[in-house]
């Protein structure tokens, strides 16, 4: 038995060796979502560019998604290690503000590319996008031209969507339909449900299944076709433009109140709105940068559909109604 004990002890010691060598200086800690920090996301380039000008070190912590970032901060409360959180969206900002864990940014968004004026004192946007149904132009010749047409044509295309309980796009569609149909949202879902092939846990499952040909359309972003055009030189995919407009998602960052280096934090937020950071966004996060002139976007982005008007609920309404609306959705979809 002693041998086994020894082996275990050695094994555990081995685990710790890499940590002993870590530097003890205090880096700028940024909580964000995992796909931001992955080597295919904006993280590595952002880190390099900012470190070159700030004489500091950025430490990213990649969590599952925006909700996880906020929950982590709630759990840590005033003892959080984070200086900045980056990656929650406007569906969560009201809840995040209510925690009282954030410091006002005290900055102005000068060269905003957002369709509407930005009036949030706590959070600053870094990118935004619109939900849309993406389809293969060779396989679907007549995509619906409005949300109403998609919902009400019982012979319409089959779709793949995500679950609003577990995914951001799923919640986006829920709000989109609510925005258009209001009190009739339940009826709309009932009409749509026959053509919903499945409701996946997350975006990846649905998009992967769409590429395998499981449905005519998939709920994604208006910018998704840009990926196929730029990275794969594949022109087949397009987002269907809906005449009512597209529901918007704005991703924001905020300064944590308990941070010991708020000046550095503000410096990062400034950098986040600079052209250097903003021009990294389109081809790594595949979203629209929030503060970059349209002329500076990759030209392929100009070929994308014009999603206006942008649809968005006030964040306080989302915070208040989300649970009830999800329950309403559950009620219809579980039949």
């Amino acid at each position: 038995m002693k041998l086994i004990m020894r082996v275990t002890a050695v094994a555990f010691l081995c685990l710790y060796v890499p940590y002993a060598a870590q530097a003890a200086s205090s880096p700028l800690v940024i909580y964000t979502y995992d796909s931001f920090v992955s080597e295919w996301g904006p993280g590595p380039q952002v880190k390099e560019a900012f470190e070159a000008q700030c004489d500091c070190v950025i430490e990213f912590t990649g969590l599952e998604d925006g909700v996880s970032i906020l929950n982590r901060l709630k759990l840590e409360g005033k003892n959080s290690r984070a200086d900045i959180i980056l990656g929650i969206d406007t569906n969560l900002t009201a809840e995040a503000r209510a925690t009282g864990l954030f410091e006002e940014h005290g900055m102005t968004l000068d060269n905003s590319a957002l369709p509407d004026a930005w009036e949030d004192d706590t959070f600053l946007p870094y990118d935004y996008g619109y939900f849309a149904f993406v389809y293969n132009q060779e396989l679907l010749k007549n995509p619906p031209s409005s949300l109403r047409q998609l919902v009400e044509n019982s012979q319409g295309p089959t779709i793949l969507v995500q679950d609003p309980r577990t995914s951001t796009p799923g919640l986006g569609l829920l709000l989109w339909i609510k925005k258009i149909y209001g009190d009739q949202a339940s009826d709309a879902w009932a009409k749509l449900s026959d053509r919903i092939v499945t409701v996946s846990k997350g975006w990846s499952e649905a998009y992967g299944m769409f590429l395998k040909g499981e449905a005519d359309m998939v709920l994604s972003y208006t910018t998704s076709p840009a990926y196929h055009i730029i990275a794969e030189q594949d022109q087949r995919f397009a987002a269907a433009k809906f005449s009512e407009g597209h529901y918007q998602q704005i991703e924001v960052a905020g300064l944590v109140k308990s941070s010991q280096q708020k000046d550095l934090g503000r410096q990062f937020l400034q950098f986040m709105l600079s052209e250097r950071f903003q021009s990294i966004i389109p081809t790594t996060n595949w979203m629209y940068p929030a503060a970059l002139a349209a002329s500076k976007l990759p030209q392929e982005f100009n070929a994308l559909i014009d999603p206006s008007p942008a649809l968005l609920f006030d964040d306080k309404i989302v915070a208040r109604e989300r649970k009830a609306w999800i329950n309403e959705w559950l009620e219809v979809m579980s039949k």
């Binding site: 995992d34 499952e205 196929h228």
Partner: protein
């Protein structure tokens, strides 16, 4: 026996303390528990009923055919590629759920080899995926039952002119009755806690499991108290099933048999057995084959030349092996205690110990992880503890696998050699070296391989704590999928499977010895 109780105490602390931490959180300002009326909601009732039925159906559909397949393997003896095939049967355990979903869709989707069209989504898809995951596992767990039937029993059967039915009735069924309930329970737990597969292939929110409800309450709702209550509900559902299973289980009478050497090949080869093996091989092989083809057609070079993939592979390997080691050590002490108790006639206590270790799997890692975070983040820098916590949680999740694989052999060994060891005053290390190791290394090898595969495929806890330095292969696969890099993700998944196959081979070979799997 003391060590068994120690392991149990540690388990209790690791599970209950984090839950208490989460409940305590609800007392703090800002965390007012929301309506605990949710008990009465039709939603939770529906979720509980659905979770239970889909898990029961999935586990019966996995385990009953697995008995036939394992029997066919046992009766057919050695044939070319047999051990490779059996090792492939350990692989589905490691496949991340999103990859498995895409594999199932490649085979049974509307553009697949066996198109089921829209009827795939719903209970069909759930069952297909669960049988794909669990039938091979059940085969691996049940096969040793046949190897455990002593040679002289078969010989006696021959002399008495046993028919096939008699062999089944008097030789195989009694042996199965010891192992089958445990395997059923294990598969039931795996299906009960299934999440992404059920949601995505289930066609919509009517296919919601308790695990989804727990996830939901710990995330958007952020209501830890509700999450803990739902987790306890899931645990009690599982305990109920476990108790039912253990009632059905019949431990073999104490017997002292000279021959411990199981018969390797019974050579009851028949066309039917071959057909069963081929069919099972195709069923398990098809989704894996689609993955293999997609992976080989994918950007192989770009993935293989990426140093970060190999770093993640190293992390994954290390986590898998460490979890396997820890889990087997804990399982060893737990089982030693329980078999000692059984030997002394305290069957109830023995079963209770095993039960505690067996049901641990259904406690959601998300709940434990969050709870551990709440408890310790004030005192230590939790980021430096990511690896140990992940290993601990994975080792715990692996414990039921260890109990299943190692338990029966351990008990038999105790029964056979207890008195001998007493009279020879063999104890401690010597007893392990001389008595236990030679006979138990084979099940140990299998259980180590299974726990390693389970831990290597795990995403849950790493994603919860998250930091880029600890990327594992499942995490990289999700990152690639999130960045539209679906072909790359398929290649990475293929590498993960290859790595897992190697680990299976190495562990079964090095620990299990130079015998057939």
């Amino acid at each position: 026996m003391r060590s068994a109780y120690l392991v149990l105490a540690i388990l209790g602390i690791v599970v209950l303390l984090p839950m208490a931490g989460l409940l305590n959180l609800s007392q703090l300002p800002g965390f007012e528990p929301q309506d605990l009326q949710f008990w009465h909601s039709a939603y939770i009732r529906r979720v509980v009923v659905f979770s239970f039925w889909q898990a029961l159906l999935s586990s019966l559909l996995s385990v009953i055919p697995a008995v036939l397949v394992a029997r066919a393997f046992a009766h057919t003896g050695d044939f070319p590629f047999r051990s490779l095939l059996l090792r492939l049967f350990g692989i589905p355990l490691v496949v991340p759920s999103v990859v498995a979903v895409l594999g199932i869709v490649s085979v049974y989707g509307s553009g697949g080899w066996i198109p089921l069209g829209r009827s795939l989504y719903g209970i069909n898809g759930i069952l297909l995926a669960h049988v794909f995951f669990n039938l091979p596992l059940a085969v691996r767990l049940l096969l040793p039952v046949w190897q455990g039937i002593p040679r002289h029993h078969w010989q006696l059967g021959e002399q008495l002119g046993f028919s096939k039915w008699h062999r089944w009735r008097y030789l195989e069924w009694p042996a199965l009755r010891e192992g089958l309930p445990g395997v059923l329970l294990l598969v039931f737990m795996l299906c009960l806690t299934s999440f992404a597969v059920v949601l995505t292939l289930g066609g919509g929110p009517k296919s919601t499991t308790l695990e989804v409800a727990i996830y939901q309450s710990l995330r958007y709702d952020f209501d830890p108290a509700q999450a803990v209550i739902l987790a306890l509900l899931q645990l009690s559902l599982c305990v109920l099933v476990a108790v039912a299973m253990f009632r059905f289980q019949k431990l073999p009478e104490v017997e002292i048999s000279i021959s411990s050497q199981a018969i390797e090949s019974q050579n009851y080869r028949s066309l039917l057995n071959w057909a069963v093996i081929v069919f099972a091989g195709i069923f398990v092989g098809l989704p894996l084959a689609s993955l293999l083809i997609d992976g080989l057609l994918g950007p192989l070079g770009r993935v293989v030349s990426n140093i970060n993939i190999w770093r993640a592979a190293g992390n994954t390997l290390m986590l898998g092996l460490a979890a396997a080691l820890l889990s087997n050590i804990a399982g060893w002490f737990l089982l030693r205690g329980s078999s000692e108790l059984a030997n002394q006639g305290h069957l109830k206590q023995a079963k209770l110990i095993e039960l505690c270790g067996s049901v641990i799997y259904v406690v959601p890692p998300l709940v434990i992880g969050t709870g551990i975070f709440v408890l310790f983040s004030d005192y230590v820098d939790i980021f430096e503890w990511v690896y140990p916590v992940v290993i601990l949680v994975n080792a715990m999740m692996g414990l039921p696998f260890v109990i299943r694989t190692l338990g029966p052999s351990m008990r038999q060994n105790r029964m056979r050699y207890e008195y001998l060891c007493h009279s020879l005053a063999l104890d401690g290390w010597n007893r392990f070296r001389i008595i236990d190791w030679p006979l138990l290394r084979r099940p140990l090898g299998l259980s180590a391989a299974l726990v390693a595969a389970l831990a290597m495929g795990d995403l849950g806890v790493i994603a919860l704590f998250g930091t880029p330095k600890t990327a594992t292969m499942p995490l990289v696969i999700y990152q690639q999928l999130g960045a539209y890099l679906i072909p790359q993700a398929t290649v990475t998944a293929l590498l993960l499977l290859g790595l897992c196959l190697m680990v299976f081979w190495a562990l079964e070979r090095c620990i299990g010895g130079n015998q057939n799997a």
